[in-house]
């Protein structure tokens, strides 16, 4: 199993489907911490996260035959985790999550990704640590996936089932909200 650590996720899935069921442990090792971090941030609490992540892995295993081996595994497992976290959020939240979001209705100009601005990323990560809970879940989640899980817009769009332009808009608005909340006097658009 050690040699499998160099294999891609998709290759590992292929081997599990071929009958090497123990290789599922490799996927658990690779994604356990990432999914826990994503869940803690998104749900704003580590409470029950262990059970939710375990349920995610069980769901991944049960549905593994529906995974398209020509696609990337990472957005697929994050999508399952996203659904699990949304369900957990619905159970915990007093305010129901909105059924319909006007953001997805109309086209938005695509906000470009800015992967080279490391300083800005570091600043936003610090802001996320301080005041992520103040943001509504719809802005919180793309910020976590972009700044903390370091996924690109295309993957985030696939995980959240949103147009890429909407992902860009939410990240941009979320970032501005964070900056405004952390230091209203210095806030500049």
């Amino acid at each position: 199993m050690e040699g499998n650590l160099e294999k891609t996720d998709e290759q590992v899935v292929k081997e599990i489907l071929a009958g090497r069921l123990d290789d599922f442990g490799i996927l658990v090792q690779r994604y356990e911490e990432k999914l826990k971090r994503y869940g803690w941030r998104f749900l704003s609490s580590p409470e029950g996260i262990e059970d939710i992540v375990q349920e995610v892995f069980i769901s991944v295993y049960k549905n593994l035959k529906s995974f398209d081996l020509d696609k990337r595994f990472s957005p697929w497992i994050y999508r399952i985790a996203h659904n699990a976290y949304i369900n957990a959020l619905k159970k915990r939240s007093r305010d129901p999550l909105p059924f319909f979001d006007p953001d997805v209705l109309f086209p938005h100009p695509i906000t470009p990704e800015r992967p080279d601005r490391d300083l800005e990323k570091k600043e936003v990560r610090e802001l996320l640590d301080k005041s992520l809970n103040m943001l509504p879940p719809k802005y919180r989640e793309p910020l976590i996936l972009f700044y903390l899980q370091e996924l690109d817009y295309a993957n985030i769009a696939e995980i959240l089932h949103l147009p890429i332009s909407t992902v860009g808009v939410r990240i941009s608005r979320g970032r501005k909200m964070l900056q405004k909340n952390s230091n209203p006097s210095d806030y500049k658009l």
Binding site: L21, D22, F24, G25, V28, Q29, E32, E50, V53, Q54, F57, I58, Y61, K62, N63, L64, K65, S66, V104, L105, F106, P107, H108, A157, H161, L162, P163, I164, S165, T166
Partner: protein
């Protein structure tokens, strides 16, 4: 005394797998689910298609579409005579279809507005084609010979949907200041022409000519406001074909 080491998540999940407490769902289940979703979406799309093409067909059949040739007055009558409930339910169903497509397919990549507008446009085009081809005319004709279940009564009620103060029929006799108009039910009405009557495309009235007319019903005659020939027009032979 040994202290129990907490089980790692990997061990817990692998334990569940090894003990066969959990198992992978067979591929056919996912295939069946996709098939059912496609089937459901197709049924809804087909119903909407029939719904919308029937709407176009009813407007075409009762002559409402020709009202646009009579200027503002015709347009006003067209708006008043539109089956708004039918139209609105068609639009609502199409929006629902757009939302379902967005949720069940990769259409989420596009803004919902695009998906819904594309659905509306596509359905409008295919529905218009169903009338032009003419699929609805054939269904209507078939329904006069053999009653089609479910949709049959819809065709039966079609003639009652004639637009307000609009008359379709054949010029059966010309006289001094007008003519006699014989409608599809073989009822004859006297029509009076006035200097204000608009004759579309300098229409020359003659016996046997199929026309559509808007006008005001008086005591025992109709005062014509506008007349247009049906011959050679968009699907002008529909009535003849259905009544054959």
């Amino acid at each position: 005394m040994t202290e129990d080491k907490p089980q790692s998540m990997k061990d817990k999940v692998l334990g569940e797998i090894r003990s066969q407490h959990i198992s992978m769902k067979p591929k056919w289940q996912f295939f069946l689910k996709s098939l059912l979703i496609i089937l459901l979406l197709s049924i809804i799309a087909l119903y909407i298609l029939f719904h919308t093409s029937f709407l176009f067909y009813s407007l075409h059949y009762n002559g409402s579409l020709f009202l646009t040739h009579f200027g503002v007055s015709g347009l006003r009558r067209l708006i008043l005579s539109l089956p708004w409930l039918w139209l609105l339910s068609g639009i609502i169903l199409t929006i629902l279809l757009g939302i379902l497509v967005e949720k069940q397919t990769k259409a989420y990549r596009f803004p919902l507005f695009y998906t819904v507008m594309s659905s509306i446009l596509l359905i409008a085009i295919i529905s218009a084609l169903c009338v032009i081809l003419p699929i609805q005319t054939s269904l209507h004709k078939l329904n006069t010979e053999t009653r089609i279940p479910i949709i049959g009564p819809m065709f039966k009620n079609l003639p009652e949907n004639e637009p307000l103060k609009t008359y379709i029929g054949e010029v059966s006799e010309l006289n001094g200041n007008g003519f006699l108009l014989t409608n599809r039910q073989n009822q004859t009405t006297r029509v009076i022409l006035t200097p204000e009557t608009k004759l579309n495309n300098n229409l020359k009235l003659q016996n046997g000519l199929e026309i559509m007319m808007i006008g005001e019903q008086k005591a025992n005659y109709i005062e014509a406001e506008g007349i247009r020939a049906l011959l050679g027009g968009f699907g002008a032979d529909v009535h003849a074909e259905i009544n054959d």
